[in-house]
């Protein structure tokens, strides 16, 4: 589903990704771990097509298509979803209105008919239960005045509505207390399916106690230096990242 080969990316002339290789198949959940500044969020942003990154080498194939040649909105319509680490506030635009516009843009792209208000609200009701999100939150302006936990929950709620094929979760666990983490993880687990792939970007092993990944990768200094199963995450928690020091840049 996702094939990343030798990906190099820089921001304002500074090289962040230095040759990332990653292959994700449908149904798999991959965790990407690494210390601050290792390039985890950059990788998530490059997949979603955020402006400001220069791709200096490498390729990204998504469902066999050249992902890097696609606009961000086209990627989204093709089923790429990014759960933001810092979701943005949109004053005056209600969450439901925003989501309806998003869902109908995606449905139109898929050749499906647009959902009318009644069907859409029924869908909202159903998915709101999944992440235990308050319905008043759904009617408020997008993320405005939401607590940190509410914002993260809202991201998972949006993911449930938009039904993506590839979901990238950028530090969805950061800033969550243990109860909120459980709710968010339960929501994510319910969205696991044989057709959907997920990439979890995280700092801590904690999230992986609740969402058990198929593969764990360690990103260090812009490269994936080690991959393994969930035991690797436990080892990282116990030993830190130092023992995996990146090979000297050549």
């Amino acid at each position: 589903m996702l094939e990343i080969k030798g990906l190099h990316a820089s921001v304002k002339g500074q090289q962040i990704l230095k040759g990332v290789d990653l292959s994700v198949k449908p149904g798999e959940v991959h965790a990407i771990m690494g210390p601050n500044g290792s390039g985890k969020s950059t990788l998530a942003h490059v997949i979603a097509g955020r402006p400001g990154y220069d791709i200096t080498a490498g390729s990204v194939l998504y469902k066999g298509q050249d992902l890097l040649a696609m606009t961000p909105e086209l990627r989204a319509r093709e089923g790429v979803f990014l759960a933001f680490q810092y979701p943005v506030e949109i004053p005056g635009v209600s969450n439901v209105y925003f989501l309806k516009a998003a869902l109908n843009a995606i449905r139109k792209h898929r050749g499906q008919s647009e959902l009318d208000a009644m069907d859409f609200l029924a869908l909202v009701k159903e998915k709101a239960k999944l992440v235990d999100i308050d319905e008043s939150l759904v009617k408020r302006p997008v993320n405005e005045g939401f607590s940190g936990g509410e914002k993260k929950r809202n991201e998972i709620f949006q993911m449930a509505i938009l039904d993506p094929q590839l979901a990238v979760l950028d530090e969805t666990d950061s800033g969550l207390d243990i109860d909120a983490l459980r709710v968010v993880a339960a929501g994510v687990n319910q969205l696991r399916s044989p057709e959907r792939a997920m990439v979890l970007v995280t700092h801590y092993q904690r999230l992986l106690d609740y969402i058990v990944p198929d593969v764990v990768h360690v990103l260090l200094d812009g490269r994936i230096v080690k991959s393994g199963d969930k035991e690797l995450a436990r080892e990282l928690e116990a030993r830190g990242y130092e023992w995996l020091e990146a090979p000297a840049a050549r």
Binding site: A48, G49, R50, P51, G52, T71, P72, E73, R75, A76, R77, F81, L82, F84, P87, V88, I90, P91, G92, V93, Y97, F98, L99, A101, A102, L103, A105, I106, H109, P141, Q158, L162
Partner: protein, 106 residues
Amino acid sequence: MRIGKAADNSRNYSQCDSLLLGDQCGAHTFPYIEVLNSTAQMEHEASTSKIGEDQLFYFQQRGVSPEDAVSMIVNGFCKEVFKELPMEFAVEAQKLLGVSLEGSVG
């Protein structure tokens, strides 16, 4: 804003919010206040914000085109005022906005 001599204990609140589209523009606000009665209460507030790249990207990441995103952000910004207008003006204003926004995002 002018408060006349006989307007005892009058109150006024004026708010002036600007939303900038693109990086080639600016906003200047000149509130003019003339008060002839010292019992009056006057308040003035002004703010300037702009459509951020972050906001646009958030819409795009959810599948919404930049053109539709700008229109939704601007309409959200103006909603507070529009909902105070009589129906026919509100409809007119919304149409005007739609027209003037065409081609503003490249």
